[in-house]
């Protein structure tokens, strides 16, 4: 009997599997298995000894402890979620705006881009957390404010009053002025997003703009009718990236790590991280469901 010969396409499928193999092994053993055991740990009392560890099933007690009796978990979780809800739209708008600006032609563009991508290099939880609690920085900042130089431009009291008097709703005013004082936080979190938007802007064909110009559209119209729809899939990408990224370094995840490695309460820590993950998944699901209805795909 003759062996059935594989067609080129079938052969390619199997070769394709070889390419994925290292990743797949990692996925199984360094992701799937830990994920399942993490869930098991969250339902048990885990004791680590020199020879290994022992598990004792205790049901939902860890979850109950995290949600009902832990002194700071629920508060931190709400704060983290609030932070995300407040910051994410700002980051998206900010990065879209500056990606459009950095895409224009002007002198010193290379320098400006180099500076704007610095946060990609520097952004890391540890630098930010050192920054926040740092004495010297706040001393210099205060001195600056007193002498009227430096960042005191950001003192926006007059602006607040002006906006309030012009009849804007106080919530919106507070949001905007809050955004101005959190500008460093926002800038340092939007490096990758600017990159993604910029790459997207480069891939829009210039002929679209030419056609629009011949039809007599203004720059404003061109932005809302061409740039914005073409970038809308990337807005979704950036939303997801921003939300996921903000978990890595916030206080709740620090609490989860501390519970595991400082208090050695592994079960409780696992339960905390699962609650946390559930909340993230919920936020992601809601935002993608809302946004993807508006997303425009070319094909």
């Amino acid at each position: 009997m003759k062996l059935k010969k594989l067609s080129l396409e079938q052969k390619n499928r199997y070769y394709g599997l070889y390419f994925i193999l290292p990743w797949f092994i990692g996925f199984l053993f360094l992701f799937m298995v830990p994920l399942i055991s993490s869930f098991r740990y969250s339902l048990s009392n885990l004791q680590v000894s020199n020879e290994g560890f022992t598990l004792e099933f205790i049901g939902l007690a860890n979850f109950r402890e995290a949600l009902l009796s832990h002194e700071s978990y629920v508060r931190m979780l709400t704060e983290s979620v609030l932070n995300i809800v407040v910051n994410t739209p700002l980051i998206i708008i900010f990065s879209l705006f500056f990606a459009v600006i950095l895409n224009q032609k002007f002198h010193g563009r290379v320098l400006a881009r180099a500076i704007f991508f610095l946060p990609v290099i520097l952004a890391s939880g540890i630098i930010a957390s050192i920054e926040n609690g740092d004495l010297m920085q706040s001393v210099v900042r205060n001195a600056n404010d007193m002498t009227g130089g430096g960042l005191s431009v950001l003192k926006n009291l007059d602006l607040t009053i002006m906006l309030l008097e012009s009849g804007m709703s106080p919530i919106l005013v507070e949001y905007l002025t809050g955004a101005v004082s959190r500008i460093y936080e926002i800038v340092s979190q939007s490096g990758v997003q600017i990159l993604i938007f910029l790459a997207g802007l480069q891939s829009i064909s210039p002929s679209l703009y030419e056609a629009a110009k011949i039809e007599g559209s203004t720059g404003y119209e061109a932005f809302w009718k061409i740039t914005f729809p073409m970038l809308s899939p990337l807005i979704l990408t950036n939303l997801v990236y921003t939300i996921v990224d903000s978990f890595i370094s916030d206080q709740t995840s620090r609490l989860v790590v501390d519970t595991a490695f400082k208090s050695f309460n592994f079960g409780l820590s696992a339960a905390m991280s699962w609650i946390y993950f559930a909340v993230i998944a919920l936020i992601l699901w809601v935002t993608t469901a809302l946004v993807s209805r508006k997303v425009f795909y070319q094909n």
Binding site: N12, R13, G16, Y18, F19, I20, P22, W23, I25, G26, F27, F29, L30, F31, V33, P34, L35, S38, L46, G52, Q104, F106, V110, A114, L118, P119, I121, L122, I126, I130, D134, L135, M136, Q137, V140, A143, N144, G150, I183, Y184, V187, L195, L198, A199, Q202, S203, L234, Y241, V244, I248, S253, V257, A260, S269, S273, W274, Y276, F277, I280, L284
Partner: protein, 337 residues
């Protein structure tokens, strides 16, 4: 002929004059320059916000103790001193920390790039039942926070064993905590810091390469792996540069996994988080160094700033050289679907 051009010039002049007197022209003109001005202010302002902490660190790290207590000194120290750098350099054992970090980040970068480029290519090109599900798994790895699988991973590497083989030969599972193995193994198997994102970038890039290129190579008699190595990879260099930079930098700055797996071989990110404590023990352990120093929050903060500056300095220098490449390659890297 000559008169023709002269009259042409005259009409051109007339048109030019009319243009100068028309309001629409001036409106456009002012609009254009106003925008240039606004743009400049915006870019300058944000650049300042980004550079401000770095400038501040540089300023602080050159200050001496007397400048710290001098209220008239804000930005430019009265006495420049390199003492801070010297202290951090010796207390932190800087050269060895630098070598450790450099070694670890480079190895992780190479392994991650290789694995992810292979996986990305595989995901872009294979079509079989369940391939969509597999790619959903990639997205899933991006979405699940690392904290969720942190404890099992830790225990896994603490009692490391491959199918009972290591226990068979050594009698007990190997303890890989405080070695570089956890990083290398996760990088090699595509499960390191943010690797899901890299696989995604490569897949998007390869989807943009037309299949005809490969088919042409097959027709010319190249095998599958040869096609990949000779035709596909050279095309993927822009996206590889992007991924390599990301993976190097994020490994360098990563404090989550380094704090979890490493206590002993010091790397930059753990140096940053513990610099105050280490310098305090160094100074008091050194004997005559005044105890008041370690008690002084200003001094500790100055040390903190100096050590953070020294930790990110290699990255900054590196960035100066590669940034042009980086920005240009990102635009063609398939970062965009």
């Amino acid at each position: 002929m000559k008169t023709g051009t002269a009259s042409g010039q005259r009409t051109a002049k007339k048109v030019g004059l009319e243009r100068l007197t028309s309001t629409a022209y001036w409106f456009e003109f002012i609009k254009k320059w106003l925008w240039i001005l606004v743009r400049f202010v915006l870019i300058f302002g944000i650049s300042f916000v980004i550079l401000y902490p770095i400038l501040l660190k540089i300023s602080i790290s050159f200050k001496s103790m007397s400048d710290l207590y001098d209220p008239t000194v804000i930005w430019i120290p009265r006495e420049f001193t390199l003492d801070n750098f010297k202290l951090v350099f010796t207390a932190m054992n800087y050269p060895s920390v630098l070598m450790n970090t450099l070694w670890l980040s480079t190895a992780v970068m190479l392994l991650q790039t290789i694995t992810c480029v292979l996986a990305g290519y595989g995901f872009a090109r294979i079509r079989f039942r369940g391939s969509g599900l597999l790619f959903a798994a990639v997205i899933f790895t991006i979405l699940v926070p690392s904290q969720t699988i942190m404890i099992p991973l830790y225990l896994n590497f603490k009692n490391f064993d491959v199918l009972g083989l290591i226990e068979l030969f050594r009698g007990s599972p190997a303890n890989l905590i405080n070695t570089y193995w956890p990083f290398l193994i996760s990088a090699l198997l595509g499960m390191g810091v943010k690797t899901g994102l890299y696989v995604y970038i490569f897949r998007q890039f390869f989807r943009g390469i037309p299949r005809e290129i490969e088919e042409a190579a097959y027709v010319d008699g190249a095998g599958y792996f040869k096609t990949f190595g000779r035709i596909i990879l050279p095309n993927a260099i822009p996206s590889m540069v992007t991924v390599m930079l990301f993976s190097f930098v994020w490994q360098w700055n990563d404090s989550f996994f380094t704090n979890m797996y490493l206590n002993e071989p010091k790397v930059m990110s753990s140096m940053m988080s513990s610099s105050g404590y280490t310098i305090a023990t160094y100074l008091t352990g050194g004997g005559q160094a005044a105890e008041s120093y370690t008690q002084d929050p200003f001094f500790m903060s100055m040390m903190m700033n100096t050590s953070v500056l020294m930790a990110i300095l290699p990255l900054l220098i590196n960035y100066l050289f590669v940034q042009r490449h980086f920005v240009e390659s990102v635009e063609r890297s398939g970062l965009v679907g």
